[in-house]
């Protein structure tokens, strides 16, 4: 499984866009990129997943570099509720998907300043 590297922490003011990067230099062709976030006293919450190019949903957008070694989660107009630890996970469909095994790294602590 590919290892991921994220910045340990980031800060942003309310209303700003936050971009959280994730490096996965050894990603395999069978692997997808998942992003989760966790707020205190709760379990991780799925945000978005992607394989290549650009993915967007109602919560966030995900840009994946052409070589798939770098991905960036973009949160538009962050609010205080977006303060959380954001986890980038790379796994293949056979383990992370159909069977359900996810490997969490250290994550990025996003702090939102009012």
């Amino acid at each position: 499984l590919a290892k991921t590297t994220q910045p340990p922490s980031m800060e942003a003011y309310e209303g700003q866009e936050v971009n959280v990067s994730c490096s996965h230099t050894n990603i395999a062709t069978s692997e997808y990129i998942y992003w989760y976030r966790q707020v205190p006293h709760q379990g991780p919450q799925f945000i978005i997943q992607g394989y290549k190019d650009y993915v967007v949903n109602e919560v966030a957008s995900l840009f994946i570099s052409a070589d798939r070694k770098l991905s960036t989660l973009s949160l538009p107009w962050v609010s205080l509720r977006d303060a959380a630890v954001y986890y980038c996970i790379v796994t293949d469909m056979n383990t992370g998907g159909l069977s359900g095994k996810l490997t969490f790294g250290e994550g990025t602590q996003v702090t939102v300043i009012s």
């Binding site: 997808y32 998942y34 006293h41 709760q42 379990g43 991780p44 919450q45 799925f46 997943q49 630890v85 469909m93 992370g96 998907g97 159909l98 069977s99 359900g100 095994k101 996810l102 490997t103 969490f104 250290e106 994550g107």
Partner: protein, 116 residues
């Protein structure tokens, strides 16, 4: 929507005793249920993965003898921590995958175990 409930949310047990925790999937059928432990330092460990019609697979350092799991149907799973000691403390998370939905795993809020 898809929700995962866990019970209890918090529990305290004496060293050497056991406690059982439950995981309930609501609004979807969970083909697989993964149990994780998040340490006080926030690191995650996968304990075991239970998939419908397959044997429960335990990760290294975790055993059925210590963490027996029951997964009787597509909406419920339980795990017991036997002979709990200080190193077993943490947040126990249940992650369930929706058989008919997007390829994602839904997590419950966790059961926080404190061992005295």
């Amino acid at each position: 929507g898809a929700l995962v409930y866990q019970y209890p949310r918090r529990t305290i047990c004496k060293s050497g005793t056991s406690m059982r925790m439950e995981c309930q999937a609501v609004g979807f059928q969970a083909t697989s249920v993964a149990w994780y432990r998040q340490s006080p330092q926030k690191t995650f460990e996968l304990i075991a993965l239970s998939t419908v019609n397959s044997a429960i697979k335990y990760e290294q350092n975790f055993t059925q003898e210590k963490f027996p799991i029951s997964h009787p149907n597509l909406s419920f799973s339980s795990m017991t921590v036997l002979n709990a000691y200080l190193e077993d403390r943490g947040l126990y998370l249940c992650g369930a995958r929706d058989m008919g939905g997007p390829d994602t795993q839904y997590f419950g809020p966790g059961t926080r175990l404190l061992v005295l």
